[in-house]
């Protein structure tokens, strides 16, 4: 589903000028992550207009800002462990990164309302690169699209988890690494109603033996409703 090119240009221009705000802004960011052509249009407007912003008189920030930056970049850029602790540590880190980055519906203004998903989640890795897009459709169908597969997962399985604010992650099933997956699950399933984010972990072949994630989190993202249900 693609927006007309003129509409994309109009949205991208208002994005760069700054009048595109809130959810509309998030949506365009998610679209740009999922679609190279959209990203190119945004980049083009940025290349045209952003240099104008540099024509302001400099203002010196206080020294404490650099101190805070240094403290925050002292940690390694990414971490992967194999315990449940590592799962939550990694997820927490991702969630913090996500706040500035992303996620929401990338389908909007759809002329075909019935084709619109109930919710969307763009799952990104710790480097903020989108790896999977999960969309929940009417008719108990969850689609997991692979944006960028992982290397070196032979002999292992990828497992999708529903993450709730409170409580342990709950498995939604195994998903493919090289190919898209359709899961039969209802949007009103208890696991999804309680969830505010989704994550994929690397597990032994056949899935986690314990019913809880045991391997590193490969990617995660918040759930974003695309319409009122």
């Amino acid at each position: 589903m693609r927006l007309a090119r003129d509409t994309l240009h109009a949205l991208a221009a208002e994005y760069v000028v700054g009048t595109l705000r809130g959810r509309a802004r998030r949506r365009l960011e998610a679209m740009a992550r999922a679609d190279r052509d959209v990203a190119a249009i945004v980049e083009r407007w940025e290349a045209e207009l952003t240099p104008l912003a540099e024509r302001v008189s400099p203002v010196e920030p206080p020294a404490r800002v650099w101190g805070a930056i240094e403290a925050r970049i002292a940690a390694p850029r990414s971490a992967a462990g194999s315990s449940a602790d590592a799962f939550w540590r990694t997820f927490g880190m991702l969630a913090a990164g996500l706040a500035s980055v992303l996620v929401v519906a990338f389908l909007w203004l759809s002329p075909q309302r019935e084709a619109e998903p109930v919710f969307v989640a763009v799952l990104t890795a710790s480097d903020a690169v989108p790896r999977m897009v999960v969309s929940m459709h009417a008719g108990n169908e969850m689609r997991i699209r692979v944006v960028k597969p992982w290397q070196g997962t032979e002999g292992k399985s990828l497992e999708l988890w529903a993450l709730a604010k409170n409580g342990a992650p709950r498995s939604l099933g195994l998903v493919g690494n090289e190919h898209d997956t359709l899961l039969r699950v209802s949007a009103s399933d208890a696991r999804l109603l309680a969830a505010n984010a989704l994550a994929v972990s690397l597990e032994p072949r056949g899935g986690s033996p314990s019913g809880q994630p045991t391997g590193p989190v490969l990617c995660s993202g918040s759930i974003a409703a695309t319409r009122k249900t």
Binding site: T19, A47, T50, W66, I69, G97
Partner: protein, 194 residues
């Protein structure tokens, strides 16, 4: 004083080293850009503590994504300015008091005196952008400038300019459409890609 071209390629080099984990190189990126970027954010968010937060978050993001710069087609300072502008706009939620609007900047989006163009190629681009901005009618140019430099939303613009919201939206939309048409006309000469 090094030329601006040399400054940009030095920044690109420092970013590449930052991507490999070189904190000293990253410190030099910060030293070279902090005061411009702080000013960019301050104009939009208007409160120093908030602008400090934006600068901090932006540089953590620049550190984490320094490797992505290699794929960016823009100058390093443009890439970093876009990150700071986006972060500034993200933290703007509430409507703000009318204050501190720099009329000299907004009156003329095409101010040439503030900063010289960086290179011959950018001078051409800047020239065509300048011409195109010059083609816009005054209300559109003013609305776009206020939004761009000061982060005013559609409704804040309507309040500031005392015009109906719909009118302001139309001015901006039409202005940007004209800008695009004009830039694309110039694309034949100025290597502007669509």
């Amino acid at each position: 004083m090094p030329s601006l071209d040399a400054e940009q390629s030095r920044l690109a080099d420092l970013l590449a080293r930052s991507a490999l984990g070189d904190r000293a190189a990253f410190g030099q990126v910060y030293a070279a850009t902090r005061s411009k970027l702080f000013a960019v954010s301050l104009r939009i968010v208007r409160e120093r503590p908030l602008a400090e937060e934006v600068l901090q978050d932006s540089f953590v993001s620049i550190w984490n994504h320094a490797a992505d710069y290699a794929q960016a087609k823009s100058a390093p300072s443009t890439w970093m300015t876009a990150i700071v502008r986006n972060r500034s706009l993200d933290v703007l939620r509430r409507p703000r008091e009318e204050a501190d609007i720099d009329e000299s900047l907004t009156a003329n989006l095409v101010d040439e005196t503030a900063s010289p163009p960086r290179s011959l190629e950018e001078r051409d681009t800047a020239h065509s952008l300048r011409e195109c901005l010059g083609e816009l009618d005054a209300p559109a140019r003013q609305s776009i400038a206020l939004a761009f430099y000061h982060g005013l939303s559609h409704s804040e613009l309507a309040g500031h300019l005392q015009r109906p919201l719909g009118t302001v939206k139309t001015h901006i939309r039409r202005g940007l459409l004209r800008l695009r048409e004009c830039l694309e006309r110039g694309a034949a000469t100025a290597a502007v890609r669509s």
